[in-house]
């Protein structure tokens, strides 16, 4: 039945996935969410 609107809290703030979360947090990690050290870069 139609009801008055209750307060709702959106935990995601519209961010659809983890890459959006990381971008919003200002992170610029390797491939968006990978911690990558220098040794790995050299090996790769």
């Amino acid at each position: 039945l139609p009801t008055s609107k209750v307060t709702e809290y959106d935990v995601d703030g519209g961010k659809e996935d983890l890459f959006a979360v990381n971008q919003a947090a200002g992170l610029d990690l390797f491939e968006g969410d990978i911690l990558y050290d220098e040794e790995q870069v050299r090996n790769s």
């Binding site: 039945l1 009801t3 008055s4 209750v6 307060t7 709702e8 809290y9 959106d10 935990v11 995601d12 703030g13 519209g14 961010k15 659809e16 996935d17 983890l18 890459f19 979360v21 990381n22 919003a24 947090a25 200002g26 992170l27 610029d28 990690l29 390797f30 491939e31 968006g32 969410d33 990978i34 911690l35 990558y36 050290d37 790995q40 090996n43 790769s44």
Partner: protein, 644 residues
């Protein structure tokens, strides 16, 4: 990532840092359960192992790839990362997985639109050749939870990844659950032979009915059929979509006498835990007095033939519908599950039917919310309008409900999902603790695939923080709905209070809701539960000391030496022979009796030579000194014996 050194042991040690959100801890535990159900990867609290995963609340969601063998390896589950798919994604990185679109062969399947990528973010679209990364002989997986979505790192509105088969354009980037290929790769990488908590699944498509047997001592049999007199007309697995398939098990109560029974027993099962969840679809087209009971036949040394134990009677009137049922079991020895059908009094035009049976060592969801004609509801509900589940009472006494926005919220086109506490019985509510402390409510849209291991159900969880305030108010968010909620009227005219909603406006896109088997026979099924996770509020205990066995893993004794604990220190005990022995802190040196003799002789000779040299030097020096003195006295003195 190629290289055995990057693998973890199949039981991965983890440590929850204190800064982690409580909801995140609860969701991580749920993600671990999915790993246990679908792979052989297990997780255990860190007890001092050399390498472990430290989960903390960083700024965002991130992980290293593979076991970096650096002791404490961090994995961040920051704000907004407490979603099961995100957590599974990050742990897949930690277990050694790159993103799917970085595979060596990715250009065969997707086109990277370099001119649509944000400046400086091109490195996010690297790929690795097949000496660095292996696809483990699994085809390119558009449905992988490790795949970017088409909008990843875009600088405008055009996609940055275009799939060569257009049908997969909206498939990439799913963040629901492991895909079949994700699991295949993980199971191959870690040489898994069987999942940890999965026991059995059966859709009765094969003639061997998954090793089930007709029980002894009954009067009738269950039959494997594709349709039954009186209903159902189709099975549940395939809903009659494929000719020649679509079997289910049916016990007809049309004939026979009152009290006649039919037993259908599963194959022998061996539990690891002492709790299990049996899930199945049930169609009741018989007389209301016909009944289905769930029993277990347990085996032990005292009862090698097994003892039957009644678990539950499935209640409910006949209905032209496959109904989902969950039965919690608590078995700890070898057992079979027994489906016992009994013909009741009165005439029947149908019977009892079973399909899509799943048995796993997990807890059962508490409540089922079935929404009929879901596609129509998605299309016809005005955007920004919610529909609400019935109120469900949890085992803790709190009542709650789910609010679903089938056609999007005011801020998003995606379906929204919010959980609210509601008022229940006055007396019970009066005895509960308010604000409601640390209850995790999970809202799962069930992927109705017949096999529980292949389901990609979509779930989100929220947790009641008793300290949380309503925005811009002094009221507590999770307080008694009579105090903090609004009065609403139920469909039957009942009035109750609904507390504020807590959830997400991006629960699932409509396109994904229409995919897979989220809607089956027109219906969607939400599984709802409330769990007390207050035990996760306190800090995870640190290992008391590094386990003694592990200290010995830190040093390597050479030459067959053995590591033993000397008090609290690890020390090498070296091998000793009749006239030789190894020594040194790692037994790296060898000595023998012969070496001793040689050493003694050599040192004697050396001492003799040194003393000889010293003597000669002294004599020469004295001689020189005497001679000089004589010269200083003018040619010298002749000494005579004056008394001779």
């Amino acid at each position: 990532l190629i290289g055995d050194q990057y693998l973890w042991p199949t039981t991965v040690p983890y440590y929850f840092e204190d800064d982690l959100d409580i909801n995140a801890k609860g969701v991580i535990m749920k993600a671990f359960e999915q790993y246990r159900l679908k792979t052989c990867i297990d997780y255990k609290p860190w007890s001092g192992e050399k390498n472990y995963i430290s989960v903390f609340k960083g700024s965002g969601c991130f992980s290293s790839v593979g076991n970096q063998r650096k002791g404490k390896q961090t994995l961040s589950i920051g704000a907004g990362c407490d979603r099961i798919a995100t957590i599974e994604h990050e742990f897949l990185h930690a277990l050694g997985f790159w993103h799917e679109q970085s595979r060596a062969d990715r250009d065969d399947y997707v086109t990277i639109m370099w001119d649509r990528i944000q400046a400086g973010r091109e490195h996010n679209f690297n790929k690795y050749d097949d000496t660095t990364s292996s696809s483990l002989n699994v085809p390119y997986d558009y449905g992988s939870m490790m795949h970017y979505s088409k909008t990843a790192f875009q600088n405008g509105t055009e996609p940055t990844i275009v799939t060569k088969i257009p049908a997969f354009s909206d498939v990439i980037g799913q963040r629901m659950e492991f895909s079949d290929s994700d699991l295949l790769k993980l199971n191959r990488l870690y040489n898994c032979t069987r999942p940890t908590t999965f026991l059995d699944t059966c859709d009765f498509e094969l003639e061997n009915i998954c090793g089930m047997i007709q029980g002894q001592g009954d009067n009738a049999d269950w039959e494997r059929v594709t349709k039954a007199t009186g209903g159902p007309d189709t099975d549940y697995s395939n809903m009659g979509r494929c000719t020649g398939t679509g079997y289910f098990m049916h016990f007809s109560t049309v004939s026979g006498s009152e009290g006649h029974t039919a037993l259908l027993e599963s194959r022998l099962l061996y539990p690891n835990r002492n709790y299990q969840c049996l899930q199945f679809f049930y169609y009741h087209s018989g007389n209301p007095n016909d009944k289905l009971e769930i029993w277990v036949r347990e085996y032990n040394e005292a009862n090698p033939s097994g003892t039957l134990r009644m678990i539950e009677t499935i209640t409910g009137l006949p209905e032209t519908l496959w109904q989902l049922h969950h039965v919690s079991l608590n078995v700890s020895t070898k057992f079979r599950v027994v489906f016992k059908g009994t013909k009741g009094a009165g005439s029947s035009t149908g019977g009892l039917s079973l399909d899509d049976v799943n048995l796993s060592e997990t807890t059962c969801p508490e409540h089922v919310w079935r929404i009929k004609n879901f596609k129509s509801i998605m299309e016809n509900t005005p955007r920004g309008t919610a529909i609400y589940s019935p109120r469900f009472r949890s085992k803790y006494g709190y009542t709650f409900q789910m609010g679903l926005y089938p056609n999007g919220t005011e801020t998003s086109k995606d379906m929204g999902a919010f959980a609210s506490l509601t008022s229940g019985d006055d007396v019970i509510d009066g005895e509960l603790t308010w604000p409601c402390p640390w209850m995790q409510i999970t809202m799962m849209l069930m992927d109705q695939n017949a096999d529980i291991r292949k389901r990609m159900s979509n779930q989100r969880s929220v947790t009641s923080d008793p300290n949380q305030k309503v925005e811009g108010s002094t009221m507590f968010f999770w307080d008694n709905p009579r105090k903090v909620g609004m009065e609403v009227t139920d469909g039957d005219g009942t009035k109750y209070f609904r507390g504020p909603g807590f959830g997400t406006s991006v629960y699932l896109t409509q396109a994904r809701a229409l995919s897979r088997e989220f809607i089956k026979g027109g219906d969607a099924i939400f599984l709802l539960s409330m769990e007390d996770i207050s035990h996760l509020v306190s800090s995870q205990p640190l290992p008391p000391t590094t386990p003694t066995d592990d200290l010995c893993t830190l040093i390597k004794c050479e030459n067959d030496g053995v590591c033993v604990m000397d008090g609290v220190k690890a020390a090498c005990r070296c091998v000793v022979g009749d006239d030789w022995w190894y020594y040194g802190d790692r037994c790296q040196f060898k000595s023998s009796n012969q070496d001793g003799v040689v050493t003694a002789v050599v040192s004697t000779v050396v001492v003799f030579v040194v003393m000889l040299v010293v003597t000669v030097v002294i004599v020469v020096c004295m001689k020189k000194k005497f001679k000089k003195k004589m010269n200083d006295m003018g040619g010298g003195t002749t000494t005579q014996n004056n008394y001779a």
